[in-house]
């Protein structure tokens, strides 16, 4: 494919090489993206229906196998399908199409391209099978079990080799900004995926995270937040930087802005993860850092939006006419909106209201439907005629319909869900004049949302219809393809072996000390001196000195850096980097890893971050199996196990949660959304065993308006005592259990199951049918929750405040 020809002129003209592009792989990825998008959105629509009317949890079908459709199992399928199948395949289509052209070369290896494509589709299919079966790690967006995790790692390596191989054989000296973003994506996702998925194996499709409790939460949201950053943001910015100027025929607004917002995004995003854990049992300084970095992230994010929208200067008249540009403009606008809302939501006081409510759901859908979806569709409508070599889309009207249906769909969806989120958040914190919770019955705060949930169904349906039109149009256009695709051959000179040195040299970098820098540093050191020599009797005053010391020194360093930034703005140094992709990649990796280490290491290293509580003991083997069921059923999708130190929350759910209560929790189950009440202390609040049984079998029997799925199948399925030792054995490796626990696990579980059954029968002698069923494990676990620390109240608070 790369035939070298020598021109007659000889040495003076560089040797020309001929090559063609592999568009077949792009066609595959694009089709996969739209088809999986449809599947993922359909599953999302079913999940939305399930919240509006719980009958949809079994899809109206009978039988003890219909639990595969229940919300707790479908919601992870929805999120995984949309993120990794719809967005994922869309990203790959963008990368494969644009990289070849930006680098003037065919992909490094057609074989690897195919392996990447089919491997990724196999992963998606295995996700679609295992998640409904309840095979899950129980960590959001990282649910897939260990064999699939390994497959993802391998296929990602295939992708990386193929991509970096293509960089190596490029015929374009400098790499364009779109490629920087692809590099960041490949590097960061590899790091995130591997470090959040370190587990011990407990069975063919069962593993436990090696991290526990607060540390697991920290890892998970370092991952979860940065999956948004490096799977749903950076690759789509790369997509934007290629397809938008192509479609608009306009130069990119600002090269400087590209550089600055790229590096600041890559470095700052990583730190922002803890904003998902405000007010939870993590150290407050970590949460504060997460918030500050999220706020700082606002402008780097908007840098991308500006470079997108301002590139359209002089082309706005075409936006109204060209559907591709219309999709891009709306997509980028949603990006701007979401990246303003993100920092807003990360502010602690706002987060206290928004966390656990639908506000978060509205936020992510503005991002996913608006930004991710519209960038994929905009790209699709630009690519389809080019890939299938037709004159245009088969049906131009459908494109218009798609645009308007989905735009109205998004607006209906998010407006309804914003209202739902605010309503519920405000109801939770509302008190009567006597100081009692105004909406003491949690269900009141759920039933009021049901009309909003129906409106969401309408909005989601419209968006889905748009996607159906897109797929139909795509197929119709594909049918008009030529019998044989034309594969144009291009010519370009090979890259010279050595990097040219004729970069305009930047002004040499001399760190200068301005008056301001010196002034701030001196003032800071003076305050530090006052702090160090301060009188211990006045800790308040002493802390003030420390505060001023840190602030002044920080400002001094910043002022010094201001000069450095001026030097950076020269940008010639960056141009040189762009000619050296390996070095560039290393710097991206350094930025990602450094920020990660700064964020993660302290919480692991400093023992005092997790104060152990003597009363907290590991679960019994039976309770552990019950917890496994809790994870498998996806209970964490609707129930938190984390009471925040907010008075309206402790009034409702009991004392706030302490990090020391979760030291044996592999994985943590703090949750992120309260569609149902918090369960951290449910074993203290609800001590009736038979209540739990009735509620699990038919939630409507105990809470008339409950929207929880029924878990009757737990009362029918046999409790597999012989599996329990392997679970205990795996956690033994992590130090939760000892050899003795392991040896007696099955026997111990049997004895406790009999006790639980006895307790249930004492309350309700009709429940003999529960003998040796999974229900006993589930009830045992629920009754245990929160009981270890019950009654320790004051003692715990002293521990927490360090007394």
């Amino acid at each position: 494919m790369n035939t070298a020809t020598t021109t007659a002129v000889g040495d003076l003209v560089p040797q020309m090489e001929r090559f063609s592009y592999d568009d077949g792989i792009v066609r595959k990825f694009l089709f996969a993206s739209v088809i999986w998008g449809l599947v993922g959105m359909l599953v999302g629509l079913i999940a939305a229906l399930q919240l509006a009317a719980p009958v949809f949890n079994s899809l109206g079908l009978e039988g003890n196998w219909t639990q595969i459709f229940s919300f707790g199992r479908l919601r992870p399928l929805h999120t995984n399908a949309v993120i990794f199948a719809f967005a994922g395949n869309g990203i790959f289509a963008a990368v494969y199409y644009s990289s070849q052209r930006l680098l003037k070369t065919r992909m490094f290896s057609d074989k690897l391209s195919k392996l990447h494509f089919w491997g990724w589709q196999a992963i998606i299919v295995s996700a679609a099978v295992t998640l409904p079966l309840g095979l899950t790690q129980g960590k959001e967006y990282a649910e897939l079990e260990w064999p699939i995790d390994i497959a993802i790692t391998l296929i990602w390596v295939v992708f990386a080799i193929n991509f970096f191989g293509t960089l190596a054989v490029r015929r374009e000296r400098h790499i364009y900004v779109a490629l920087w973003f692809y590099i960041a994506t490949i590097v960061a996702i590899a790091v995130l995926h591997i470090f959040n998925n370190i587990w011990v194996i407990a069975g063919p499709f069962k593993s436990y995270s090696v991290y526990a409790g607060a540390q697991d939460a920290f890892m998970q949201w370092w991952y979860g937040h940065n999956a948004v950053a490096f799977f749903l943001t950076t690759p789509f910015l790369g997509l934007m930087y290629y397809f938008l100027p192509k479609a608009a025929g306009r130069p990119v607004f600002s090269y400087k802005l590209s550089i600055l917002h790229f590096w600041s995004l890559v470095f700052i995003y990583i730190w922002a993860g803890p904003h998902h854990l405000h007010y939870t049992a993590i150290p407050e300084w970590a949460s504060t850092l997460g918030m500050l970095f999220s706020v700082i992230l606002w402008m780097p994010s908007w840098g991308g939006m500006l470079n997108g929208l301002l590139t359209l200067r002089g082309a706005w008249d075409r936006v109204a006419k060209d559907p591709v540009l219309k999709f891009f403009v709306v997509g980028i606008t949603f990006y701007g909106m979401s990246t303003f809302e993100g920092p807003l939501l990360s502010i602690k006081a706002v987060n206290g209201l928004s966390h656990y409510t639908d506000w978060t759901i509205a936020h992510v859908h503005a991002g996913a439907l608006g930004w991710v979806g519209y960038m994929v569709f905009g790209m699709a409508y630009w690519l389809i005629p080019r890939l299938f070599q037709t004159k245009g889309m088969a049906n131009a009207k459908w494109v218009e319909w798609h645009f308007w249906l989905s735009t109205i769909g998004i607006l209906i969806y998010i407006v309804a869900i914003y209202i739902a989120g605010l309503t519920q958040g405000l109801m939770w914190r509302s008190f009567t004049p006597e100081g009692a919770l105004e909406y003491g019955d949690f269900m009141e705060t759920v039933t009021v949302l049901i009309p909003m949930y129906w409106i969401r169904v309408v909005g989601g349906t419209l968006y889905l219809l748009g996607t159906v039109l897109c797929l139909m149009n795509m197929v119709k256009t594909w049918k008009q393809r030529p019998t044989v695709y034309d594969e144009p051959v291009y010519e370009a000179p090979a890259l010279a072996k050595t990097n040219p040195t004729n970069y305009v040299t930047a002004p040499s970098f001399k760190p200068t000390l301005s008056k301001w820098t010196v002034g701030f540093l001196v003032a800071g050191l003076a305050c530090l001196g006052l702090y160090l020599t301060g009188d211990e009797a006045t800790p308040e005053k002493s802390r003030m000195y420390l505060f001023f010391a840190l602030s002044f020194i920080g400002l001094g360093v910043m002022m010094g850096m201001g000069k450095t930034i001026n030097y950076f703005a020269g940008m010639k140094w960056h141009r040189r980097w762009e000619g050296r992709p390996i070095g560039f990649t290393i710097w991206v990796a350094v930025a990602v890893v450094t920020a990660s280490l700064f964020e993660i290491v302290p919480t692991f290293a400093i023992e005092s971050n997790v104060k152990s509580i003597e009363a907290v003991k590991p679960l019994t083997p039976l309770e552990l199996y019950g917890r496994d069921i809790y994870v498998a059923e996806g209970c964490y999708n609707c129930h938190s196990q984390m009471v925040r130190p907010l008075h309206f929350e402790t009034e409702r759910f009991g004392d706030y949660s302490k990090a020391g209560e979760f030291v044996y929790d592999h994985p943590f189950q703090w949750g992120s959304r309260r569609i149902g009440p918090d369960l951290a202390r449910v074993g203290v609040r609800l001590t009736s065993a038979s209540w739990h049984v009735r509620h699990m079998i038919d939630p409507r029997a105990t809470s008339e308006t409950s929207i929880m799925p029924s878990y009757g199948h737990l009362a029918e399925e046999a409790l597999p005592y012989d599996v329990i030792p392997s679970r205990v054995g795996a956690l033994k490796l992590l130090g939760v259990y000892d050899q003795n626990d392991y040896m007696q696990a099955a026997e111990n579980a049997k004895v406790q199951a009999a006790e639980v059954l006895k307790r249930i029968l004492a309350e309700d002698k009709g429940m003999v049918f529960l003998e040796d069923t999974k229900m006993l494990a589930m009830v045992a676990y629920l009754l245990r929750l929160g009981t270890d620390t019950a009654g320790l109240g004051a003692e715990l608070h002293n521990l927490e405040s360090g007394n």
Binding site: S98, L102, E172, Y176, Y242, K246, P251, F253, S254, Y255, K256, L257, L260, E284, T288, F293, I296, W298, G303, L310, R313, D317, K348, F431, T432, P433, E434, G435, A436, L437, E438, G440, D441, E540, R543, M544, L546, F547, L550, S551, L555, L646, H647, T650, R685, L686, T687, S688, A689, W691, A701, T702, E704, R759, A762, E763, G766, A790, E800, S801
Partner: protein, 214 residues
């Protein structure tokens, strides 16, 4: 700015400096960073130093400080409200006389609905009709474990060992146990809430004499 050939119209893009970059036909302008962008970016960084210093090393309240203040304020609010409600009711205790005085006070009983909703409705239903297989009906004259009104706070405190009733000692304050017990007593003989369609729990236990202070 529709006519890009006319340089007099607004910011005509062709006035910007183009770099010599070209990738697959894509060019880049060498435009400077927008001033407001730089200002907000630096501003947010500078503000972060102050914020972090103030709340981590400085005098800013930690979230536990804020929480403790909230809890204290709420306790005062509750105390004040209770004092006002209970001031006319004389001695407040688990005695039959005191419980009956409270049960007869409509305002006090109205205010107990919120507590009932948080703690009791889960097994006895929002209007106290009971729940099949679970909490007994509070509206009829049949009682399983109650002989006199004074038994109610004892059961709320200790639960019924071996049965579903949760001991609320530690979950509720002593005063809350007394007022919610009075509320339970006041439910006897009251009407069903027609908006609730759940079945009414069948009568259980013995019919006991009406509440009396004797």
């Amino acid at each position: 700015m529709t006519d890009s050939n006319n340089p007099t119209q607004g910011q005509a893009p062709q006035e910007d400096n183009l770099t010599d970059h070209s990738y697959d036909g894509i060019q880049e302008y060498d435009n400077p960073l927008p001033g407001w962008w730089v200002a907000i970016f630096w501003g947010s960084i500078v503000w972060s130093f102050f914020y972090f210093g103030w709340y981590t090393a400085g005098p800013g309240d930690s979230w536990l400080d804020t929480f403790n203040q909230e809890v204290e304020a709420l306790a005062e609010q509750k105390d004040a409200a209770a004092k006002e409600q209970l001031s006319s009711l004389g001695e407040v205790s688990g005695s039959a006389a005191s419980l009956m005085r409270m049960a007869a006070n409509a305002d006090l009983m109205e205010s107990q609905k919120a507590l009932w909703a948080v703690r009791c409705a889960v097994c006895h239903t929002a209007d106290g009709r009971g729940m099949v297989g679970l909490g007994p009906n509070m509206k009829d004259d049949h009682y399983l474990n109650v002989k006199t009104i004074e038994d109610i706070p004892k059961i709320v405190t200790e639960g019924i060992p071996g049965k579903a009733m949760t001991p609320f000692k530690g979950l509720l304050t002593e005063q809350e146990i007394l007022t919610i017990s009075a509320y339970v007593a006041s439910m006897r003989g009251s009407a069903l809430d027609p908006s609730i369609t759940m079945p009414v729990k069948e009568a259980e236990g013995e019919v006991i004499p009406p509440w009396s202070a004797e």
